[in-house]
């Protein structure tokens, strides 16, 4: 490989990384703002950067919107004292936040977020690594994230984190199954391709000339099961068993502070963002808009990325919206829902679509 080619790849990776990181930081802000709005409050509205915040109207507006808050939060995480409790298992205690953080960051490499047309006139994905087993890679790596939580809970050597860790593992096992099973009909639908880009491209066309061929319209049940399982996988309310601050203090991260807590925090939000991205790619047509063909050239590329990001952020908003609407399930309810409802439903869904697709292929 040429040197400049390698440099280009590194540059691209850094670019995507920094975009996703700042998205995660602003997701935290969005979460706080959405919470405030739902509850009739104002939310973060004080933090100011001296020069920028001083601009008459725009500065005040941005300050009221809390735009500078993530910077303050990030600095706080960096500069706070980092106490390590005496009773923890140091090695695993330090390892755990990294294990939670790295998989969340790794999954973004195979997520296509836009398209471009190369010289040969073929449509190509904008992606860091266009793997043929893209979605399997995402499923495999993102479920590694739970080890960070379990390990954190265990290494903290105290009761509440321990309970949080155990709950996380139980929940993860229960919902991982439904998550995978709900995706199988989608792969069947698109001719067995596991490549996310092919799946998105498969959703470009219109059916009968007017119906956008988005997977969610044809397989709403798969989408629903996947979404519910995704909520559980990302430990979001109503499934935030591992954290459940009302009964477990703060769950698995009770003993963590400062930067280590920040890693968990950012990892969690990255997980949500990437999860939304996967959902958009699989079910919401990726960067396709119905009835619109993307123009070729740079403009089309930028547009495709924008559409994808907007869809993704809308889904992230839905995550937050649900969080501030629903109360937390009880632990046994989570298990009942996972094993007695979602799993049979996912299996039935798979069988149903397998038959349908077989029938369609016959004719």
């Amino acid at each position: 490989m040429e040197w400049n080619e390698l440099l280009l790849i590194v540059f691209k990776a850094l670019l995507v990384l920094s975009v996703v990181m700042s998205l995660a930081a602003y997701a935290v802000l969005a979460e706080r703002k959405v919470a405030a709005w739902v509850q009739g409050r104002v939310g973060p509205n004080r933090t100011q950067i001296p020069l920028l915040g001083g601009i008459p109207i725009i500065g005040t507006f941005l300050t009221r919107l809390g735009v500078f808050q993530p910077a303050a939060d990030g600095l706080k995480f960096l500069f706070k004292e980092e106490p390590t409790p005496g009773h923890v298992n140091k090695f695993y205690y330090l390892l755990a936040p990294m294990i939670a953080f790295i998989p969340a960051m790794t999954t973004m490499t195979v997520l296509p977020f836009g398209q471009y047309v190369n010289e040969a006139g073929e449509v190509q994905p904008l992606v860091l690594a266009n793997l043929d087993i893209g979605i399997l890679f995402i499923l495999a790596v993102s479920s590694l994230g739970v080890y960070g939580i379990v390990l954190g809970g265990w290494a903290s050597n105290s009761k509440f984190p321990f309970l949080g860790g155990i709950r996380a593992s139980a929940q993860m096992i229960s919902y991982e199954l439904s998550l995978g099973l709900s995706l199988l009909p989608v792969f069947l639908w698109f001719g067995g391709s596991l490549n996310l880009f092919n799946i998105v491209q498969g959703q470009t066309d219109l059916l009968f000339g007017f119906l956008p061929q988005w997977t969610i319209l044809f397989q709403p049940l798969s989408a629903l099961i996947f979404l519910v399982a995704l909520f559980a996988e990302t430990n979001r309310l109503p499934f935030d068993m591992p954290e459940s601050e009302t009964d477990l203090v703060a769950g698995y991260n009770t003993e963590y502070g400062a930067f280590k807590f920040g890693l968990y925090f950012v990892g969690e939000y990255t997980h949500i963002i990437i999860g939304s991205g996967v959902f958009v790619a699989l079910f919401l047509g990726g960067w396709n808009l119905p009835w619109v063909t993307l123009p070729a050239g740079l403009f089309g590329t930028v547009l495709s990325v924008l559409i994808f990001v907007i869809k993704m952020l809308a889904l992230v908003f839905v995550f937050m919206w649900v969080r501030w609407t629903l109360p937390r399930f009880r632990y046994d309810q989570v298990m009942t829902l996972g094993w007695r409802w979602l799993l049979p439903l996912a299996v039935a869904n798979l069988v149903f679509y397998a038959i349908i697709i077989a029938v369609i292929e016959q004719f």
């Binding site: 709005w37 739902v38 509850q39 009739g40 409050r41 104002v42 509205n45 919206w321 609407t325 629903l326």
Partner: protein, 180 residues
Amino acid sequence: MATKVLERKPLSLAEQTYLPQILGGMKITLRNMFKPPVTLEYPDERPDIPEGYRGVPTLVKDPNGREKCVSCQLCEFVCPPRAIRITPGEIDAESDTAHVEKAPKEFEINMLRCIYCGFCQEVCPEEAIFLQDIFSLSGYSREELVYQKDKLYELGGTLPDQHYKWDRKREAELAGNPHH
């Protein structure tokens, strides 16, 4: 006693999936998102204090700037937690309010003891002490929160007076009717 057995309908299939309920809840929260906030940004915005609120007890002057308290010590006596301590004093014979005879030399209210009951305001024969609308106190030491006379007057300010009792007394005296 007659008992009424509540009929509990079994949940319909739609209700068992929770989904309609979740959507209903999300509709409510969405509507809430567009309502104006119900909170006050406290130190910048202050709530309206209703009439008759019992805030910090303060001493007031009448519109002529005369200090109204005559240090009768009734409030000191009535105060349940004994938050008030008065050292009575005499008014200078040269002063034009000399006929009032007494005024407090020192007047302190320990805000850490005060229970904001309002008895002092009620008992005061001179309408000199009022619990007004100040509701937040802070200080770095206990001593600081024992408010002295000047601080109490500063907080109290001037309130309108309906009687001008002592002015009328002097008028009556000058008119030759000392027992008015």
